[in-house]
């Protein structure tokens, strides 16, 4: 650290207290690489061990460390303090979620909403068990032949004690284009920043919300999945996709470029387009 400090104001809220509002202020040393999470950890290690916040991977993929910094939802690990050296930072728990303690918010509600849209493959795949033949696929085309043909260690042939492949024998064919159709939605890290940003969660707290609808669409758009009508029944409800009024704040704050606003737009369209066919469905929802 180079001796400079930044003013860090942190919201404090005891476990079990309904009202927040308390603030503690710390002068935190920083350099050009100090993240908001580093600053919080400095407080915990050097000033107040009771400061409570979540973190884990420190590389913006586990989704644990979402907080509000000066009113904007961000991941603490990839937000750098240097950008706030003149203004200082006010760090608060993510908006639109119950505070459990200090910067830790309720996540059970989010996981419950996630489970409600059946974020798994439909229909549930069957898998033949037991010994099977080696699956054959075309291997990587380009580098074959050439130097790879002279294997440095020729494989020992299967003797009497030969190895046998065990387990499911194959999967689906999915073109790179089919993969690309849903891959963007599959990048969601469940960090809940989009819930904090969404103004509609203010007025409709039961709204399934951007990330959950994006995940539902991730499965709908997967060429291996056939659950779109089932999920449309779950999404086409008062607090399913309809609270969304396309403000687009979710997409703006998403740290992974997921574009939940598009997912919501698509889901609203699918809900409308499939309404009639869903009324006359003969197969039972799964």
């Amino acid at each position: 650290m180079s001796g400079q400090t930044v003013r860090l104001e942190v919201a404090r809220q005891g476990a079990g207290t309904a009202e927040g509002g308390a603030r503690d202020v710390f002068d935190v040393p920083y350099d050009e690489r100090t993240s908001v999470l580093d600053a919080l950890q400095w407080v915990k290690d050097h000033a107040d061990p009771t400061l409570t916040f979540r973190w884990s991977c420190k590389m913006a993929v586990c989704g644990s460390c979402g907080v509000m910094v000066n009113g904007r939802p961000v991941l603490g690990c990839e937000t750098f303090v240097r950008g706030y050296r003149t203004t200082g930072l006010v760090v608060e728990p993510l908006a639109h979620a119950a505070v459990l303690r200090d910067l830790v918010v309720d996540t059970d509600t989010f996981v419950g909403k996630l489970a409600a849209v059946k974020p798994w493959q439909l229909p549930v795949p069957t898998m033949p068990d037991g010994a099977v033949q080696l699956p054959l696929v075309s291997a990587e085309p380009a580098p074959r032949g050439g130097q790879d043909a002279s294997h440095p260690d020729p494989a020992p042939g299967p003797g009497e004690d030969g190895l046998r492949a065990v387990g499911p024998a194959s999967g689906s064919v999915q073109s790179p284009g089919e993969l690309a159709a849903f891959k963007g939605f599959a990048e969601c890290i469940d960090c809940m920043l989009c819930y904090a940003a969404c103004p509609q969660l203010e007025v409709a707290p039961d709204f399934l919300g951007p990330a959950v609808v994006a995940t539902a669409r991730r499965w709908d758009e997967d060429s291996r999945d056939d659950g779109e009508l089932d999920r449309a029944d779950l999404l086409d409800t008062e607090f399913g996709v309809w609270p969304c009024i396309q403000v687009g704040a979710c997409t703006q704050v998403c740290p992974k470029g997921v574009d939940p606003a598009r997912a919501l737009r698509d889901a609203q369209r699918v809900a409308t387009e499939t309404w009639e066919s869903r009324q006359t469905r003969t197969d039972t929802p799964r």
């Binding site: 061990p49 493959q121 020992p156 190895l163 499965w219």
Partner: protein, 617 residues
């Protein structure tokens, strides 16, 4: 003593990463086909939420043989060659045979594997593998694997589902039927702290699967997440189970300086090269040549050599003054500019983002500074290929376990597939054990809904479990809870000092002087820890206390790693002794055991010893 909340499960899984979820899913699938009223229940206990687990950070891929130009035999041969004499061949065969099957299972569950143009699952090259057999999802394989498993598990986690999740529940210890070391000792459950309610509980079960990950976070510069603290490993040791090969710690050759953030080996598999301060491909001068053309990687040469060799080459280049000095020590350059922006975006989007965000470098325009960083714990709780330990009812899977797959050096992409194969096998084994051992003399608790983290509804009163067991569990919980508001040694200082000690003296190359210094230091830190200060006296989400409990586990496992390293007077795989450069003719495993006094003992056993033999026999 205040009565302890008691809940029941057939199987308890500790840890919600890929191994834990695989174990839980195996039990859940068995439940689907069980006779009515006999469906098993699995308690999935995570100190975070499962989708936060460190599996999320795995980047490169998972190995499984597909295609007619590869063979299971070759995958076994590559793994055994990488393991430098310490692989248990039976475990290697077990995993290799099931590898592709489990990857296909993930495919059917919706895993977004990257694809070739013809729509088949793509495979890439990986260090130490002689064929392209690493399945991947761009450079976020672990992330997609974890989310696919977690979302699939939600199907089984409804009100009456077989999976009962205990999210943000911190497992404090195992509960046994008798003292550790007693030949009659069996697993009876786990003592857990519910971080939301702020109270301890006993989850009684006759089978427990530990899936708590590794311990590489003990090192100061590490790719590992904050939660990777060796909790399960320490629990197993306290229960009398041996920690095997703890001295084998993999240093990943390409981490970002300072933060230690991982840049996957897939960067090199895709053609990235390593350059010294003068822009030369220095690996050729340290036994990894001959130099291969830029952008045309060749298995097991140059940048695709085994990880241990690459990290060792860095250390030597650093000593030879060929690295670029920075505040975080010497660095070399990982250059992928020749791949072009498009390929980087398609195959390595995470790496590109990490380099930009955390190093301020656009890898399409500039080389990325890197240096080795502590990454993977090859050793672990001693188990057989199916995850069974020597203690009846205790199983382990994933990085916390030592099945013998990795030996002295893990090949990249073998560990993700191990989480799936051994996780599943451990779940199945644990369920078989639970059925054999019976429901601990009780009826099925919890007809009501469980509903996740609140843990409501599953419990029956303490009276239905052996009172001694509840007393013992309450005593364990009481001991941990009593740490609050006591002590004088700041945990942050102990943690930081541990990281410095291990970085300095238990790194890529070791010697007797340094290891003796590290051993004395770690012993000193354990003494200081006995008086560790927990300032926060709160019951709910007391992270000061929880991370201090974790630190206790980390210290024990780090102690074992250093002591085992000192006791291994040879160089093998990831364990390189400057004072003992040769490799012994007969390879032996190290075993670290913990006496009830807390003292540590290191012994050795031959490779291929019966996997269920009693330790300390």
């Amino acid at each position: 003593m205040s009565p302890l909340r008691v809940e029941h499960a057939d199987v308890v899984v500790v840890g919600g990463g890929a191994a834990g979820l695989s174990a839980a899913l195996a039990v859940a699938e068995a439940a689907a086909t069980a006779p009515a009223g006999r469906a098993p229940v699995v308690a999935l206990v995570s100190k975070v939420y499962p989708m936060r687990s460190h599996t999320v950070a795995a980047e490169g891929g998972a190995a499984g043989v597909v295609g007619d130009d590869d063979s299971l035999e070759q995958h076994v041969a590559d793994t055994v060659a990488g393991g430098a004499g310490l692989c248990e061949v039976g475990a290697v065969r077990f995993v290799v045979e099931r590898a592709a099957g489990e990857l296909w299972r993930l495919e059917r569950w919706g895993m977004p594997w990257s694809r070739f143009d013809d729509g088949q699952v793509a495979v890439r090259r990986f260090g130490g593998m002689t064929r392209p057999r690493t399945w991947f999802a761009a450079d976020k394989t672990g992330f997609h694997l974890l989310h696919t498993l977690f979302q699939t598990s939600l199907r089984y986690a409804g009100d009456d589902g077989p999976i009962r999740r205990y999210d943000e529940h911190h497992v404090l210890d195992l509960v046994l039927s008798a003292d550790p070391g007693d030949p009659d000792a069996q697993v009876r459950g786990v003592v857990v702290h519910d971080q939301h309610r702020g109270e301890p509980l006993l989850i009684a079960a006759s089978a427990v699967v530990l899936a708590t990950g590794g311990t590489a976070r003990a090192w100061g510069t590490s790719t590992n997440a904050g939660i990777v603290t060796g909790d399960g490993t320490a629990m197993a040791m306290r229960a009398g189970v041996a920690l095997r090969d703890a001295e084998f710690l993999q240093f990943h050759p390409t981490g970002l300086p300072g933060s230690g953030i991982l840049l996957t080996e897939a960067v090199r598999g895709e053609g990235g090269v390593l350059l010294d301060a003068n822009g030369l491909r220095y690996l050729a001068d340290y036994g990894l040549g001959p130099e291969t053309p830029v952008g045309e990687p060749v298995p097991r040469q140059m940048e695709l050599g085994p990880r241990d060799k690459l990290s060792q080459a860095f250390w030597q280049a650093d000593r030879d003054g060929r690295t670029i000095p920075t505040a975080d020590g010497g660095v070399v350059h990982l250059d992928l500019r020749h791949l072009g922006r498009e390929r980087i975006a398609e195959r390595l989007p995470l790496v590109a983002g990490l380099a930009k965000r955390f190093a301020g470098v656009d890898p399409a325009l500039e080389p990325v500074p890197v240096r080795p960083t502590a990454h993977y714990t090859m050793g672990g709780i001693r188990t057989d290929a199916r995850g069974a330990t020597a203690l009846p009812g205790l199983f382990a899977a994933g990085e916390c376990a030592s099945t013998g797959l990795h030996g002295a050096n893990r090949l990249g992409s073998n560990s993700l597939v191990e989480t799936l194969v051994v996780g599943r096998a451990a779940g199945e084994s644990a369920l078989a054990r639970a059925r054999e051992a019976g429901p601990l003399g009780l009826g099925r608790g919890g007809s009501g809904g469980h509903g996740g983290a609140a843990g409501a509804g599953a419990g029956v009163g303490p009276a239905s479990v052996d009172a001694d067991l509840v007393d013992r569990a309450a005593e364990v919980a009481g001991g941990y809870l009593a740490m609050r508001g006591r002590g004088s040694e700041p945990p942050a200082e102990i943690r930081a000092e541990l990281g410095r000690v291990l970085d300095a003296d238990a790194g890529i190359y070791r010697d007797a002087d340094g290891l003796a210094r590290a051993l004395a230091a770690v012993e000193g830190l354990r003494e200081r820890y006995a008086d560790v200060r927990v300032t926060d006296t709160g019951a709910v989400l007391n992270t000061d206390w929880a991370t201090t409990v974790e630190l206790g586990a980390t210290l024990v496992v780090a102690h074992a790693a250093v002591a085992a390293a000192l006791a291994r007077t040879e160089s093998r795989g990831a364990h390189q002794r400057l004072d003992h450069p040769g490799t012994d003719t007969i390879p032996v495993h190290s075993l670290a055991t913990l006496a009830s006094s807390g003292s540590l003992h290191i012994t050795h056993e031959p490779v291929g010893s019966p996997s269920r033999q009693e330790e300390d026999a």
